[in-house]
């Protein structure tokens, strides 16, 4: 079962990117820290937060929305 952090992250990213694409993007970044949606915790999330924001931002056309997404992810990660 997915952790609450993962679900919050997915909800945030899905607000900017299609949910399927959001899952794919987050999944690729999770693999980099050896986590899965069932094991993602705060510590791991802090490590990959900027990468998730960068990768998801590539699918957001407007720069303002991209910045907004990065800020939200940073807040979620406690950065």
């Amino acid at each position: 079962m997915a952790t609450s952090i993962y679900l919050s992250l997915l909800k945030t990213v899905s607000g900017y990117v299609d949910e399927t694409k959001a899952r794919e993007v987050i999944g690729r970044q999770l693999a980099k820290c050896g986590a899965t949606e069932d094991t993602l915790e705060a510590e791991n999330f802090k490590k990959i937060a900027h990468m998730v924001a960068g990768a998801a931002g590539l699918y957001v056309a407007h720069p303002e929305r991209r910045t907004d997404l990065a800020k939200r992810i940073a807040v979620l990660a406690g950065l």
Binding site: G54, A55, L58
Partner: protein
């Protein structure tokens, strides 16, 4: 004349209708129970009257009082009308049965036509879906890809000005482009498979 053109013909047609009843929209119980007795009574009343007339004509009946002749004639006429009333009522019953049969057939035909239209509609819906679903899948793969490409071009341009100093960003761009290529490739392959499958069938 009364014997051949009327009584015999009435009796013959009536017995035929009783005998052939089963072959026309099923056996009518009321026809089978009501018509034969009425017909027998008709024959019993008409037979003597015809014999009297025949006898008077060929001289075998020497003399007959006018009252007796009239009574015999009136009895024959009454029984004729009684039989006629019974026959007409039974004919109405047979006509109602025939109408009910045609109404049932019409209802069945309408039901079949409705089922055929429904089946055609479902088939059309299924065919339309089988065409649009793979296309929608392709659109779903291509649509984010367009944004990705334009943003990546921007980022690559910016990164080239800094000699690609930020390795993480370059990695991200390459990874997402690669993933997007895979997704598009898969969507196209899936579409190709479905189109080939559809053309084969």
């Amino acid at each position: 004349m009364l014997h051949e053109a009327d009584a015999n013909r009435v009796a013959g047609s009536s017995w035929t209708s009783v005998n052939e009843d089963a072959g026309f929209y099923g056996t009518s119980a009321s026809l089978q129970t009501r018509l034969p007795p009425a017909l027998l009574k008709y024959e019993e009343a008409n037979g003597p009257f015809i014999q009297v007339i025949k006898g008077l004509a060929d001289g075998s009946v020497a003399a007959m009082s006018p009252e007796a002749y009239l009574r015999s004639g009136l009895t024959a006429r009454e029984e004729s009308f009684a039989f006629w009333n019974t026959a007409v009522a039974e004919e109405d019953t047979l006509l109602h049965r025939r109408i009910a049969h045609f109404e049932q057939r019409r209802a069945r035909s309408l039901l079949l036509a409705f089922a055929a239209v429904l089946a055609a509609g479902l088939l059309a819906f299924w065919l339309t879906r089988s065409i649009t679903r793979p296309l929608l899948g392709l659109v779903a793969s291509l649509s984010p890809g367009a944004v990705l490409l334009s943003v990546c071009v921007e980022r690559i341009f910016d990164a080239s000005e800094n000699n690609f100093a930020n390795r993480d960003e370059t990695d991200l761009i390459c990874q997402e482009l690669d993933a997007n290529c895979d997704a598009v490739r898969q969507a196209v392959a899936q579409l190709e498979t479905q189109v080939k499958g559809a053309t084969r069938t």
